[in-house]
């Protein structure tokens, strides 16, 4: 049994954390409309982690804040599966340092981001960044749809791939983990007045009328978010943090 000792590891291999990347503000056309009259939203600029948060990064957080360790977390904040893939409170198997952390609840993810001086991205921020990412990486609509559906068909193999913690551009928006957003509960929650795809009677939200494979893949992600409770800690759900720009005063 090779166990990876968290504290020693931190001392031996200090992380050089990459800076979050700037997401320039602009116009965002959300694929799901919360306001019928508002087809596009003006987004402010913000910073976003280049990659999902890794096991190593999350480990440093729980060492700093022991109340978020597996044995200590308040029962209100998870479903019993929190960090269940780790060996113990402050250790996981060697080689998993740079894999996206999973089995984290929405509560824990928010607390991590808050400790970094950030927050979880809003739903619109995350989706806006996703659009930017597709443009930056030159990912065609078809490739995007194919990748996303490939991920959804085999999410467990994807999450075992590492990320580069020193990435200097937005990475892995669609091919590692599903990611928490701060206001995920706004959409498509059980029994809500949002009618998925039927469009017959939804009062709050509607899908854009233009359907393509890419749109459909995006809808799929929106819908998958509604399967989670804030306590959910699952093998496919990770997160990355967003940050307000420093001089972003009102």
């Amino acid at each position: 049994m090779v166990k990876w000792l968290g504290v020693a590891g931190v001392l031996l291999s200090p992380l050089v954390l990459a800076d979050p990347v700037l997401i320039n503000g602009g116009t965002f056309e959300p694929p799901v409309l919360l306001d019928k009259e508002r087809l596009s939203i003006e987004m402010d600029s913000f910073m976003l982690d280049a990659t999902p948060v890794t096991n190593q990064e999350f480990l440093e957080f729980v060492i700093e804040q022991p109340q978020w360790q597996r044995d200590n977390i308040a029962a209100l904040f998870h479903d019993g599966n929190y960090l269940k893939h780790w060996d113990d409170n402050t250790g996981f198997a060697k080689g998993k340092e740079n894999e996206p952390v999973t089995y984290v609840s929405w509560f824990a993810a928010r607390e991590y981001c808050s400790a970094q001086g950030g927050r979880l991205p809003g739903l619109n921020e995350w989706e806006y960044a996703s659009v930017k990412y597709r443009q930056q990486q030159n990912i065609s609509d078809d490739d995007y749809a194919r990748n996303l559906f490939a991920w959804y068909s085999q999410p467990h193999s994807a999450k075992q791939q590492t990320v580069d913690p020193n990435a200097d551009q937005l990475m892995h928006m669609h091919d590692r983990v599903n990611e928490w957003v701060d206001d995920y509960q706004l959409l498509l929650t059980n029994g809500d007045d949002v009618d998925l795809l039927s469009g017959s009677c939804g009062d709050g939200a509607r899908f854009m009328s233009s359907f393509s494979n890419a749109n459909y893949a995006t809808f799929f992600r929106y819908q998958s978010r509604s399967d989670y409770a804030p306590q959910s800690a699952t093998s496919t759900m990770g997160f990355r943090c967003a940050y307000d720009l420093e001089n972003d005063h009102e």
Partner: protein, 214 residues
């Protein structure tokens, strides 16, 4: 239909507005929806919650309308009636406050001595302790039972999530939100949830009376 007779004039107005506002929809399936003639404010259905974990595990510090600090866990030992509103809200929120008042008025006298009526604002920026104090004054809620709380955006979202209250800020600065009154027992467990406006309060009052005796 006796229930309807018990509605206040204000609640009836809202109720009427709700019926009229349905004309933008072909169906009439959606409950708990309020709208008025100049906006599409939508009541969001509440989410499911845990009934086995105390809300008092939350560690946030709130500011009260009396300008003092409070952790919800300090309310331990008495039943609590809790709702989330915002002060500049002129549609559903006064009705929610009134609903809590109605529930309170149906309680036994000794229960009334114990119970706390806690209204938490969605609006961290506008509902300062001073603004909440004005609200309390305006609605004549100035006794020791009522507590109006202002907190950080992060803490508001956390509490709302634990209570199953869904909300979002609209571009105009107002909020869409679930209309929900939550009853906590003396340990902070969610015992009862009253969703929707102007609901009957007889049963909830009995629940609170029982909790007070436990």
């Amino acid at each position: 239909m006796n229930k309807l007779l018990k509605l206040t004039a204000l609640a009836s107005l809202i109720f009427a507005a709700q019926s009229f506002a349905q004309d933008h929809s072909h169906h009439d399936m959606h409950k708990n929806q309020t709208a008025n003639d100049h906006s599409n404010h939508t009541a969001m259905n509440a989410a499911e919650v845990s009934h086995s974990e105390s809300v008092y595990q939350l560690n946030a510090t709130w500011n009260t309308h009396k300008n003092s600090e409070l952790k919800l866990s300090e309310l331990e030992g008495q039943p609590v009636i809790l709702s989330m509103i915002y002060g500049s809200c002129t549609t559903a929120c006064p009705v929610l406050v009134h609903d809590v008042k109605r529930l309170y008025s149906k309680l036994h006298e000794d229960t009334k001595q114990q119970v706390k009526l806690v209204m938490v604002s969605f609006d961290t920026d506008r509902d300062t302790p001073e603004a909440l104090a004005d609200y309390v004054k305006q609605y004549k809620l100035n006794n020791d039972n009522w507590l109006f709380l202002n907190g950080s955006e992060q803490d508001i979202r956390t509490l709302a999530t634990v209570l199953g209250v869904r909300y979002r800020q609209r571009p105009d600065g107002d909020f869409d939100h679930s209309n929900l009154i939550t009853i906590l027992d003396k340990q902070g467990l969610i015992v009862e949830r009253i969703e929707g406006l102007s609901q009957p309060m007889e049963e909830p009052a009995e629940i609170v009376n029982k909790l007070a005796k436990q």
